[in-house]
């Protein structure tokens, strides 16, 4: 139908020849229905060793208390909250892709939203472990709930930003989980209807009895749209509230009104970097080059460039305001980032986040898989140091020079962090094995309108503006999954 075809100047979202609906199902479910390959096992063994380290260091913390961490009287918040904010920030990209890009009708989100949402959930789980870890007496975690006096405390302090954090993070996690799982139902059913025996029984329970009838799909679409609509302000609110943890204090370097937008931009920035880190490997190892194309990679790199530049502007604004405020403490804090003992951390922060991402202005860099992957790691490192600089470097030298101190992490601090990365990858690799890593139903929606084969057919039929066709062919040259020779004839 003519009404289905999309403008030829838009780049294809699915490449490859003779892709059918059945082939999409086969390609996406291949890792779920077959034994994992060597690359998966190597990754899984490495990740689960990390997760074991996390378990050990966490147990150590619970047994001996948070005194085992490198905190001192001056730097009372350090490694733990740095990593907490880092993980929460990473989670933001998943919601951005699944919710914000849905509202903006960005169809390229369809093939990356599932794994990005999974990443969100696992990243927030990792972040949550730091919250419980820092409590010391984790079994009293329920004290953060508004329970009356008989349970051992007064009412919770609703005026505290930390209390707001409890509500923001728990809402964010549970709403993301619901959004992700509702979207999974049709794809779990696809596994169910191809499986036999015990597998079929398990996936049958998980599928909630999904059939794909008209009414189900209609309600499903309504639910998806409304969830996207409410998740969009939710994701903005979460890192805003995380920034309140700092911004509502009187600490120089923290006490600033720019923190909410600055934190949100930084979160999306680091999250997209992590999505890039994961997906560039996933597309290669699982052979999803036709669904996660160069267009997807370049689009994500453009978002990294935009959000990285927003973060850069926020950094400059911070420096300007510190100078303009006339407050000596504020001015010293920012000067101390470069001339103090932690100058190397600030160099990592500004260098990785601002200078390195500016390379993304070059198309050759945006479309180079190895460089894009390397830069995504650089951003991940830079964003960890951003939080370290904000938290530790501000705290270690504030109002009273007699209280100035250094922070040195212990092996427990470092092990919990490295271990949490292992925990994250363990969960992600298990996800790749048991659930479809690409939203099958949503990709099928694009097959007739936005695939390379559909567009090629349009060109072959003629009737198109030759300039636009030439433009389209030109845009295909960057793709690593398109046979350009096929276009010589048409």
């Amino acid at each position: 139908m003519a009404s289905h075809s999309e403008s030829i100047i838009r780049e294809p979202l699915i490449t490859g020849k003779n892709i059918t609906y059945a082939q999409i199902t086969n390609d996406v479910l291949f890792p779920v229905e077959n034994k994992p390959n060597k690359a998966w096992w190597i990754g899984f063994i490495a990740a689960s060793m990390g997760a074991t380290l996390w378990l050990f260091a966490m147990s150590w913390t619970f047994w001996y208390g948070v005194g085992e961490w490198g905190l001192n009287k001056t730097v009372g918040w350090a490694w733990d909250i740095t990593s907490f904010v880092w993980w929460v920030g990473i989670g933001h990209a998943g919601t951005l892709i699944s919710a914000v890009l849905l509202l903006f009708r960005q169809n390229w989100r369809n093939s990356i939203n599932r794994s990005a949402e999974a990443m969100t959930i696992f990243a927030v789980i990792c972040a949550a472990t730091y919250i419980f870890g820092h409590m010391g007496r984790t079994w009293l975690a329920y004290w953060t709930l508004p329970l009356p006096n008989q349970y051992g405390s007064l009412w919770v302090n609703w005026n505290s930003a930390l209390m707001m954090d409890v509500f923001a993070i728990s809402t964010y996690f549970s709403v993301s989980l619901v959004f992700w799982y509702t979207g999974l139902l049709p794809d779990i059913s696809a596994i169910r209807d191809r499986a036999t025996g015990l597998r079929q029984k398990i996936y049958s329970v998980l599928s909630f009895g999904w059939t794909g009838s008209v009414k189900t799909w209609q309600r499903f679409e309504t639910v998806s749209l409304i969830l996207a609509g409410i998740s969009t302000p939710l994701v903005l609110s979460v890192h805003t509230i995380v920034s309140f943890d700092f911004a509502t204090s009187l600490e120089p370097g923290w006490h600033t009104t720019i923190f909410p937008p600055y934190f949100v931009a930084g979160a999306i920035f680091s999250g997209f970097a992590m999505v890039q880190t994961l997906l560039l490997v996933v597309r290669k190892v699982l052979g999803l080059e036709n669904y996660i194309t160069m267009f997807h990679i370049e689009s994500m790199n453009k978002i990294i460039l935009v959000t990285g530049s927003i973060v850069g502007v926020a950094y400059i604004t911070e420096f300007f305001i510190a100078w303009y405020s006339g407050s000596e403490y504020e001015q010293y804090t920012f000067l101390n980032r470069f001339i103090g003992p932690y100058w190397w951390a600030a160099c990592m922060m500004y260098g990785c986040n601002v200078l390195m991402t500016q390379l993304m202005w070059f198309k050759s860099i945006r479309t180079s898989i190895p460089i894009a992957w390397g830069l995504s790691i650089v951003v991940n490192i830079g964003m960890w140091f951003e939080r370290f600089v904000i938290i530790v470097v501000s705290l270690h030298r504030d109002y009273l020079p007699s209280s100035w101190a250094m922070f040195y992490p212990t092996w427990v601090d470092v092990s919990i962090f490295i271990g949490s990365i292992g925990l994250f990858f363990t969960m992600f690799l298990l996800f790749l094995r048991v659930l479809p890593s690409v939203a099958i139903a949503e990709v099928k929606l694009l097959l007739k309108s936005s695939s390379e084969q559909a567009k090629k057919k349009l060109i072959e039929e003629g009737h198109l503006d030759p300039d636009q066709v030439a433009y389209y062919k030109e845009s295909l040259t960057k793709f690593d999954s398109v046979e350009l020779a096929d276009y010589d004839k048409v």
Binding site: D193, S207, T216, F220, F244
Partner: protein, 178 residues
């Protein structure tokens, strides 16, 4: 009397399936339901299915969630145990905003999704009522109740003319009960 319970028209293309629906409707054959591996836009209008009212449910749950947490914060902070913190007002509304906002979203999401599950009869362990196992893969299935809709051969012919790749006469309504 034939033992056929359901007549299924299997299409491999959504546009042809939509064409099949039109043809059946033109011949006054009532359609039981349509099963597809992906959402088909415009099918609700064609089948005369009313717009979903889940949005209203979502709105009500959102209002409820916001009111509940606002009341809890008000009760604890202003009514039950007001504390003098530097002489600041007990009823400090700006501090209520994050909680009210978060719970509005939380209740909207959970209320709406559970309403969706309830209305559509989705819950863990429910036996899937599948008429054709490829309806979640690459087949777009129009199901017609065989009872009363005779002659079956005419329906088969209509479906085939519309482009169905296969027409099934199933003796059982659902193939998923084994």
């Amino acid at each position: 009397m034939s033992s056929t319970k359901m007549i299924l028209g299997l299409f491999d293309d959504p546009d042809e399936m939509m064409h099949g629906i039109e043809k059946l409707q033109k011949n006054s054959v009532p359609i039981y339901d349509v099963y597809t591996p992906m959402p088909i836009h415009g099918i609700e209008d064609k089948l005369g299915i009313k717009e979903s009212r889940l949005g209203y449910a979502a709105f009500c749950f959102g209002c409820l969630g916001g009111s509940v947490i606002f009341s809890i914060v008000y009760y604890t902070l202003v009514h039950d145990w007001p504390m003098n913190i530097g002489g600041k007002p007990h009823f400090a509304m700006p501090n209520f905003v994050p909680f009210t906002f978060e719970w509005t979203i939380l209740w909207t999401a959970f209320g709406m999704v559970f309403t969706f599950f309830y209305a559509t009869h989705l819950f863990p362990g429910r036996t899937p009522r599948v008429m054709d196992l490829r309806a979640t893969d690459d087949r777009f299935v129009i199901a017609i109740d065989a009872k009363g809709n005779i002659p079956h051969d005419d329906i088969t012919r209509i479906l085939q003319e519309a482009g169905a790749v296969e027409v099934k006469h199933n003796d059982r309504k659902y193939v998923s009960y084994e």
